[in-house]
């Protein structure tokens, strides 16, 4: 009915190859963006920003990053926490060494540094595959966390080894530090997420993305048709780590404001982001959003429902939360093994035919 391509004529190649070829899709995304940029900042408060939006936005960036590596290029990585730590510590060192430079540039540079580190730890992927690689990336995870804990230079020789973000402003509005207004923090993360998503979407549609997918589907075959596995795999590691580094920098500077590496960027973080990618859907940018939303929102929702709504004891509610999240993951997988993104695709297919399915 509304959702269809009929009557939507393309008269140029550019139009034909645009990101969202269906008009309704396109408008829907514009509306979502409009609401995210022009409506949400005016109505959110501290709780919504700190408990829901910031974690969602930042994890979505990290999930996009990991999805490029795992979903598009087929290299399972459990080093996400370590790479986020690189982003966070790079951002911290840059912020404190060059206070006059804008924080936005620091965040992007932090992403760049993480990309370089990612390439180094991506080297084993040329020989090691599948779950063996996943476990090999754990070496990066543990080593990076250890080194940030061990070398005092990284935390500017502070007594406890915590790093905390000094106050920085963008266009006169503070975006890090204690006095940050909720909307300012939200906007910074939203801008980064939007740019990341657009960049990732276009990268994966282009030549780079096709090479990655060729490697994912069968690397030997890809090599035979002329894809250089060295370049493809390492570029996937670089791009993926770039996004993850940005996520780590924002996680530290804008969201938490102070972190300790072992706790904030431990192995659990690596698993969490991987869960997001798999639940959301491998090889789908939308899936990254859906997975991040699922794992950030669901616990908050369940907690508010069980404790706030039903008045259960907090420990029982917390345990039940685990049971429900676990059961839901299994239920989703049994219903649709390819993640929330696949559910979404199926729903869209149905919508295109609706209301005349035959």
């Amino acid at each position: 009915m509304f959702y269809r391509e009929a009557g939507d004529f393309k008269t140029s190649y550019a139009e034909d190859s645009q990101t969202f070829p269906i008009k309704f899709d396109r408008y829907r995304y514009y509306v979502v963006l409009l609401i995210a940029f022009a409506v949400v900042p005016f109505i959110i408060n501290d709780y919504w920003v700190n408990a829901v939006f910031l974690p969602f936005l930042i994890y979505a960036i990290a999930a996009i990053g990991l999805n490029i590596l795992t979903g598009y290029c087929g290299q399972v990585s459990l080093g996400t926490g370590g790479f986020m730590a690189v982003g966070a510590y790079a951002c911290y060192k840059l912020m404190t060494s060059f206070p006059e430079v804008s924080i936005l540039i620091h965040v992007i540079l932090a992403g760049g540094i993480t990309a370089a580190v990612g390439v180094v730890f991506g080297l084993p992927s040329l020989r090691i595959k599948g779950f063996y690689l996943a476990v090999a990336t754990l070496a990066a995870q543990f080593f990076l966390v250890w080194i940030f804990n061990r070398v005092p230079w990284f935390y500017n020789y502070s007594a406890s080894g915590q790093i905390s973000a000094p106050e920085r402003t963008v266009l006169g509005v503070s975006v890090t530090g204690a006095e940050t207004a909720p909307w300012a923090a939200y906007m910074v993360c939203l801008v980064f997420l939007t740019l990341s998503a657009i960049l990732a979407r276009n990268l994966t549609r282009g030549m780079a993305g096709r090479k990655w997918m060729a490697i994912r589907d069968m690397d030997i075959a890809a090599e035979i048709i002329g894809v250089d596995p060295l370049k493809a795999k390492l570029s996937a590691f670089a791009v993926s780590s770039f996004f993850i580094g940005i996520a780590g920098a924002l996680f530290f500077a804008v969201y938490l404001g102070a972190v300790e590496v072992g706790e904030a960027f431990g192995i659990t973080k690596s698993f969490l982001v991987l869960f997001m990618v798999i639940i959301g859907g491998l090889g789908s940018i939308f899936g990254s959003f859906a997975g991040a939303a699922f794992l950030v929102l669901l616990p908050v929702l369940l907690k508010n429902l069980l404790v706030g709504g039903l008045g259960w004891p907090t420990d029982l509610a917390a345990h039940l939360e685990f049971v429900i999240v676990g059961a839901l993951i299994i239920a989703f997988l049994v219903a649709e093994p390819h993640g929330l993104a696949q559910l979404w695709r199926v729903a869209k297919e149905k919508l295109r035919l609706w209301p005349f399915p035959h």
């Binding site: 084993p124 090691i128 476990v135 075959a221 049971v323 676990g326 059961a327 993951i329 997988l333």
Partner: protein
């Protein structure tokens, strides 16, 4: 003999023992991976769950007491009896078999022939689920587990080595017992796999699902059996590690200690898990002993992985893993 060398020998022996403990956890992963291609993330949580159940049964705890009390306003905690260790272990095994059946019935039956990463994800869901259920059933406090395993320094070795080197070695009795248990476990698993009908069926399924199906082997039966075996291994690991540290949430994290072992030994080989465990145990302990003090210590966690990585660069399928053959 120079002092440092004697110390290094002690560290080496303790490394071997630690390796056996890691291997105990890794075995459970190997069993399931071999038979069904599932990388079972929930293995650590299964060990926790098994140990919790064991303590709960031994102490006569009422399962779900907290939930029942919260829902009905009652105040029940214990049945008031104590179950002897051996019987409790048997009862726990029954629970683990039940769990295996449930897991197969509700989860993996529906996910046959999915990609490995999907199956992996399902085990993550399982891990969440079991963690929550374990806590609700038995409570989140730390429990002392005592099934009669000895603990503490072995006097005989201490005295003997003192006579030889003038320095008594420290070997934990629990580690010795664990080594014996692990040896028995591996021997019986190998005998089971090689010489029994069920074991042969299991290997057939591991080789080729469809071929096994076509000669009349019930896949469901084999999978339930494999998960039960993994549950049994988890129980053993839970008992040994639980005796060391008390039964508590952190027990589920021992899986992280098993991953480098798996990677080094190969996901599909039972002897690989043992040899991998020994190499990792000795490697990380000797590294901590020799290099650790120079670079600030606490190196074991990452060194285990780096060591495994080094091996993998030369043998991408692990030491004993099946050779990866790729065809286009």
């Amino acid at each position: 003999m120079p002092e440092q060398l004697v110390y290094a020998m002690e560290v080496f022996l303790n490394g071997l023992m630690a390796g056996v403990l890691y291997a105990l956890v890794a075995l459970g992963f190997v069993l399931i991976y071999k038979a069904s291609g599932i990388f079972n993330y929930a293995q650590g949580v299964m060990a926790l769950f098994a140990a919790l159940t064991l303590v709960g049964i031994m102490e006569g705890q009422v399962p779900f007491a907290h939930l029942i009390n919260a829902a009905f306003g009652t105040d029940i905690h214990h049945f008031g009896w104590h179950v002897p260790a051996l019987l409790a272990i048997l009862l726990t095994m029954v629970v683990m078999i039940g769990l295996a059946w449930l897991v197969n019935y509700f989860v993996f039956r529906h996910l046959v022939s999915q990609e490995p990463i999907i199956l992996f994800m399902a085990t993550i869901g399982l891990a969440y689920f079991l963690e929550g259920v374990g806590d609700i059933m038995w409570g989140a406090d730390i429990k002392k587990l005592d099934v009669g395993l000895p603990q503490g320094i072995n006097e005989a070795i201490d005295e003997f080595t003192f006579g030889v080197f003038d320095y008594g070695f420290f070997i934990d009795n629990l580690d010795i017992v664990a080594t014996v248990i692990a040896a028995l476990l591996v021997a019986s698993l190998i005998i089971f796999a090689q010489y029994t009908k069920q074991g042969r069926a299991m290997r057939a399924v591991a080789d080729d699902h469809q071929a096994a199906l076509s000669v009349g082997i019930s896949l469901n039966y084999i999978w339930v059996m494999v998960w039960s075996l993994a549950g049994f291994v988890a129980l053993v690991a839970g008992i040994v590690w639980g005796t060391k540290s008390g039964v508590q949430f952190s027990l589920s994290l021992i899986a992280l200690k098993a991953l480098p072992v798996l990677m080094l030994g190969g996901f599909t080989s039972i002897p690989g898990a043992i040899v991998g465990g020994l190499i990792i145990g000795v490697g990380e302990k000797l590294f901590e002993f020799s290099i650790g003090p120079l670079i600030g210590g606490a190196t074991e966690n990452w060194f285990a992985y780096v060591l495994a990585l080094l091996f993998l660069v030369f043998r991408p399928q692990g030491l004993f893993g099946e050779k990866i053959i790729e065809r286009v």
